[in-house]
């Protein structure tokens, strides 16, 4: 473990603090018309609010609100992104004060507005593209997620990207971003790293990152994984978008055994059960109630 890197432990995400043995569910709530999995299902206020109510009921600790599709698609400028997410962040803050509000954005001007409206966590899914994002996090006491994109600009797909060692590259990029966030004044326990499956990666890269996730965990920075229904699952199993849950949960198991702390997901209960089961296999969580053979 590098000098100065924290031991795995407490997570502080804005207003909320979590103990070292807690695995967190981050439910995806897209305020987009064109995201790959939900295809605009929660673009409008009503369905988005229903989705938040439901995932909170299902036990998600975090909601991750995004106003811009990750991949290529409809142009969404900062003003439109703010229009989509800021009032919604305020609504979630008011209605569900116990939930961590994450906003998936790479723009510091959007970050400033959402933090003012009550966001706890900035999910910088495009790996530090806007260097001022960490300054906003520091200013508002928010947490930040540092992702590996292999240097891709926002909203682009990988094309013939290769790495000498994709895991080493992911560790180098995310820990450098984490150190930068720390230097900018973000609290150490509020910095999370994410290898970013599919981002700047082909399917072989994402499989290798999954297989070797323990190396990222060993850096000491808490690790987030975003696996949910992604293309690397689809390509691996030949499964269309809506039939990737089993493969997603298999990948989730591997990451959970390695010790990933936060799971960015579409399906909360299924992922929770998977992570709870693996957490118990790993000896980090007692069974709920055990009497078999112990009467």
């Amino acid at each position: 473990m590098a000098d100065g890197v924290p031991a795995p432990g407490t997570l502080r995400l804005g207003r909320h603090t979590f103990g070292p043995d807690q695995a967190l569910m981050m439910a995806i709530v897209n305020r987009t018309r064109d995201s790959f999995y939900d295809q605009g299902a929660t673009y409008d206020d009503g369905p988005a609010q229903d989705r938040v109510d439901r995932v909170v009921e299902e036990g998600a600790e975090v909601v991750d609100i995004g106003g811009v599709r990750a991949g290529y698609g409809e142009q969404v400028d900062a003003a439109e992104e703010i229009r989509r997410v800021v009032p919604f962040v305020a609504w979630v803050r008011e209605r569900h004060p116990g939930v961590v509000i994450s906003v998936d954005t790479w723009r510091s001007e959007v970050a400033r507005e959402v933090c003012a409206a009550g966001a706890d966590l900035l999910n910088d899914a495009w790996g530090g593209h806007d260097p001022r994002l960490v300054e906003v996090a520091a200013e508002f006491g928010a947490a930040i997620i540092c992702t590996h994109t292999g240097g891709l600009p926002p909203r682009t797909d990988p094309y013939r990207i290769e790495y000498d060692d994709v895991v080493a590259a992911a560790i180098a990029e995310t820990t450098a971003l984490a150190e930068r966030a720390l230097a900018a004044g973000v609290a150490r326990e509020s910095i999370v790293i994410d290898p970013a499956h599919d981002f700047g990666k082909n399917t072989f890269h994402s499989l290798e990152v999954t297989r070797r996730l323990g190396e990222m965990v060993a850096t000491g920075w808490p690790v987030l994984v975003s696996l949910s229904n992604k293309d690397f699952v689809g390509e691996t199993l030949g499964a269309p978008t809506q039939q990737r849950l089993t493969g997603t949960l298999a990948a989730t198991s591997v990451c959970a055994l390695a010790g990933a702390r936060i799971y960015r997901v579409h399906q909360v209960p299924e992922t929770r059960a998977t992570v709870d089961m693996v957490w118990s296999i790993a000896g980090r969580r007692p069974p709920l109630r055990a009497i078999r053979g112990l009467q």
Binding site: P286, L288, R289, L294, Q295
Partner: protein, 173 residues
């Protein structure tokens, strides 16, 4: 008290499957330990359970005895040993002998049948019979079979006739 392994910390889940048994047993052993060093009479597993509940209270030769034993584990078709029709009458007879108490009945326990019925520590029940000579009726902390296994938690005080001047509260089972 019964030798329920679920009472051990290494088998603790998030929810206690035996909260009533635990509470009863803790109350009884706390009372017992007030009488001085405790002798634990159990099989290997039962002794571990008893020592855990004693939580560091003094052990050794004295007048306090903790007998870790229980009734049949074959009381119904979800019991660990499945149903054996002989289990209910066997446990009823043992229960009656404990409540009476009837030392002779316990001392003459059919240990072969007890073994067939998966009784916990039959030898402990026999020994308890000897210890209960001169004892009055017990205080019943718990009796039940939540998992098809018969559990009892009971406390007896023995007034030893050969030592009539001894404080009766000092001799406990």
């Amino acid at each position: 008290m019964p030798g329920v392994l679920a009472l051990l910390p290494e088998y603790a889940g998030q929810e206690d499957p035996v909260p009533e048994v635990r509470a009863a047993a803790l109350a009884a052993v706390t009372w017992l330990a007030e009488a001085g060093p405790v002798t634990v009479l159990g099989d290997e597993q039962g002794t571990r359970v008893g020592r855990h509940l004693l939580a560091g209270a003094a052990e050794g030769a004295g007048s306090a005895y903790l007998v870790v034993a229980n009734g049949s584990a074959r009381r119904n078709d979800t019991a660990p040993g499945y149903l054996d029709e002989r289990a209910l009458p066997f446990d009823a007879a043992v229960g009656a002998a404990l409540r009476e108490p009837d030392p002779a009945a316990l001392e003459s326990l059919d240990v072969d049948l007890a073994a067939a019925l998966l009784v916990g520590n039959p030898a402990g029940l026999v020994r308890l019979g000897t210890l209960l000579r001169g004892a009055g009726p017990p205080m019943m902390d718990y009796a039940g079979d939540p998992y098809g296994v018969q559990y009892w938690v009971m406390r007896w005080t023995v007034v030893d006739s050969e030592e009539p001047h001894e404080d009766p509260d000092r001799t406990r089972r």
